[in-house]
């Protein structure tokens, strides 16, 4: 079934969306073209490719790309496809290409900017007009790449919204995560947890600011952690994992008061005044390092910012206070690859990294009880949405008819405004020409 853009836009209403946005392969194909073609999408972190020729492979929507450190130290992003017969050129998650990418099929080689370096038996192309072919242009570079404090984003479309305009104030959450390093630097470490979800990627994006679910869906994991902890003998030192689990059980009042902020272009975050990350034990020596680096006032203001999830439209989120990044990679309408990345705060004590990894393992891994709680809900929804009975999904909580006119705002922490904000951005990109 094909779809045109106008009818697809009708699937998104002010306070409800049609289930086809989660289930229809035709809608998914349009999203890959228009949403992922026109948005700035996260592709990786500069610390993953320190040396010339270092590369990582990933996807922008479903387009395979390779992020590479070029000879001049710049970071490039190329479509990961040989212009000859289409073979994927770089196949490992990460590696080093040396000075050239070499296609394993017929040994065409490409400079790190994608241009053709050599083709075996070149005489065969003489007087064929090959120079004017698209193949002669080499591996296609993604036209627009922006590196912001070592976070690398790319936009497939030749023209469109600029990086700063797209993210605007939203970049403040990346700033806060980076500023938590006494030397202002992050490093990707600890490996990547990859968790396959049989659901649409947008369910994960919406869950980021769904603050009415933790005390319900996670009672099984977080509630059990609290109960098990109560049985421990008095005076047992606070267990770091219980410290991670327990805040999920906070009350509705806690979540209402923590606040949600929305920004233009579908970005936003939970935890304006406080969050489930506010009350972790201090790691010895860290605060002193921060004060030495930034002065007491600024160090306090960096560390008091306890934003919970910052949703970067269309498919990425960071948790500054715990130094994690999750990428929701769309695979199909009903398949999403969730990657959880973790960062070392360069210059800070290792115990911070230890906590970051524990958080990721307990909350976001295929072996995480909290992950099981969430995925069960997404998969039940993905299955049941096929029913035609009532095809609309509600997102009306704390809706204000005037809200669309407000580009940025802070609201009650249980509002579904950010979910509506994401769909408004989605709908807007569904008008843009595909790249």
């Amino acid at each position: 079934m094909t779809r045109d853009l106008a009818t697809v836009r009708d699937l998104v209403r002010e306070t409800e969306v049609h289930r086809d946005v989660y289930t229809s392969p035709a809608v998914f194909d349009l999203e890959m073209k228009h949403v992922f073609g026109n948005a700035w999408v996260y592709v990786g972190h500069a610390s993953q490719i320190p040396a010339m020729g270092d590369f990582t492979t990933t996807t922008i929507g479903t387009t395979p790309v390779v992020m590479v450190r070029q000879g001049n130290g710049a970071i490039g992003v190329l479509i990961n496809r040989c212009p000859h017969k289409g073979t994927r050129v770089a196949n490992e998650p990460c590696g080093n290409a040396g000075r050239f990418f070499r296609c394993p099929y017929h040994a065409w080689s490409f400079r790190l900017d994608g241009t053709v370096a050599a083709i075996p038996l070149p005489g065969g192309y003489e007087n064929t007009g090959f120079k004017d072919s698209t193949a002669a242009q080499g591996m296609t570079p993604v036209g627009h790449v922006h590196v912001y404090r070592d976070f690398v984003f790319a936009r497939l479309a030749e023209s469109g919204i600029g990086f700063e305009d797209f993210f605007g104030e939203g970049l403040s959450s990346i700033d806060n995560m980076v500023d938590r390093s006494p030397v202002g630097k992050l490093e990707v470490v600890g490996g990547v947890l990859r968790y396959l979800h049989k659901c649409n990627y947008k369910m994960l994006m919406e869950n980021l600011t769904d603050t009415c679910h933790p005390m319900v869906a996670h009672e099984s994991s977080a509630g059990t952690a609290v109960n098990v902890w109560k049985t421990m003998p008095e005076g047992t030192p606070r267990h770091p994992a219980v410290e991670i689990y327990a805040p999920f059980m906070s009350s509705y009042q806690f979540y209402e008061a923590m606040g949600i902020r929305v920004w233009p272009n579908g970005h936003g975050h939970t935890g304006v005044s406080h969050s489930i990350h506010s009350d972790y034990s201090a790691i010895p020596g860290y605060f002193e390092q921060m004060v030495a680096a930034y002065g007491e006032e600024r160090a306090k203001s960096i560390l008091d910012t306890a934003r919970h999830n910052t949703a970067y439209f269309p498919n990425m989120t960071v948790k500054g206070p715990i130094q994690t990044l999750r990428l929701f990679k769309p695979v199909a309408a009903d398949r999403t690859m969730v990657e959880s990345w973790t960062f070392r705060l360069v210059g800070a004590p290792d115990r911070l990294l230890e906590r970051t990894l524990m958080y990721s393992r307990l909350i976001n891994a295929p072996t995480s009880p909290v992950g099981h709680d969430d995925l069960e809900m997404y998969e039940r929804a993905q299955d049941a949405l096929h029913a035609d009975a009532n095809p609309w999904i509600n997102m009306q909580r704390l809706y204000d008819p005037g809200e669309e006119a407000q580009a940025s705002a802070v609201a009650n922490g249980t509002t579904e405004w950010q979910m509506r904000n994401q769909f408004r951005a989605w709908k807007a990109l569904m008008r843009e020409a595909a790249p």
Partner: protein, 155 residues
């Protein structure tokens, strides 16, 4: 502990998991015991590199209590599992510790889905209160760095 006792213990341990006698299973661990499933082939560091599991006894207890919970929706209906173990080998005896190694296939099922995992279990056993106990159970999956769906029980 004789070699034979160590081998019988490792097989019994897998059986307790398959029969979901998880309180008895937990009791096999020493107080400082760990259940470790690395994320990387040949991983040596469980602290500053991530793992699929690196649970102490409290974390295991939380998981086990959760599996029993009335509001554990990802266990409605419940998962089941099955180990097929190769005969364990006793690899090493050192300072009161015995290390065993065993290749296994493990199947976890729920609803209409069945997922097969393959790997190697390494047990570090000690004798405490006159019985063998687990100080470390390390499970290396042959595809430890693959993407997975839910892994809800224990291998």
């Amino acid at each position: 502990m004789t070699d034979h006792e160590a081998i019988a213990f490792v097989l019994h341990e897998a059986r307790l998991i398959d029969e979901q006698r998880l309180d008895e299973w937990l009791d096999l661990f020493t107080e400082d015991g760990r259940y470790w499933m690395p994320l990387e082939m040949g991983q040596t560091d469980p602290i500053l590199h991530n793992s699929l599991f690196y649970d102490d006894k409290i974390l295991l207890r939380i998981r086990i209590e959760r599996l029993k919970g009335a509001k554990t929706y990802s266990q409605k209906p419940k998962s089941r599992c099955h180990h097929l173990m190769q005969a364990p080998l006793v690899e090493r005896r050192e300072g009161g510790e015995i290390s065993t190694w065993a290749a296994f296939h493990y199947v976890e099922t729920r609803l209409d889905e069945q997922t097969l995992y393959a790997g190697w279990a390494r047990h570090t056993l000690v004798v405490e209160d006159g019985r063998p106990r687990i100080r470390l159970k390390r499970v290396d999956l042959v595809n430890c760095d693959s993407a997975f769906g839910n892994i809800q029980l224990f291998m």
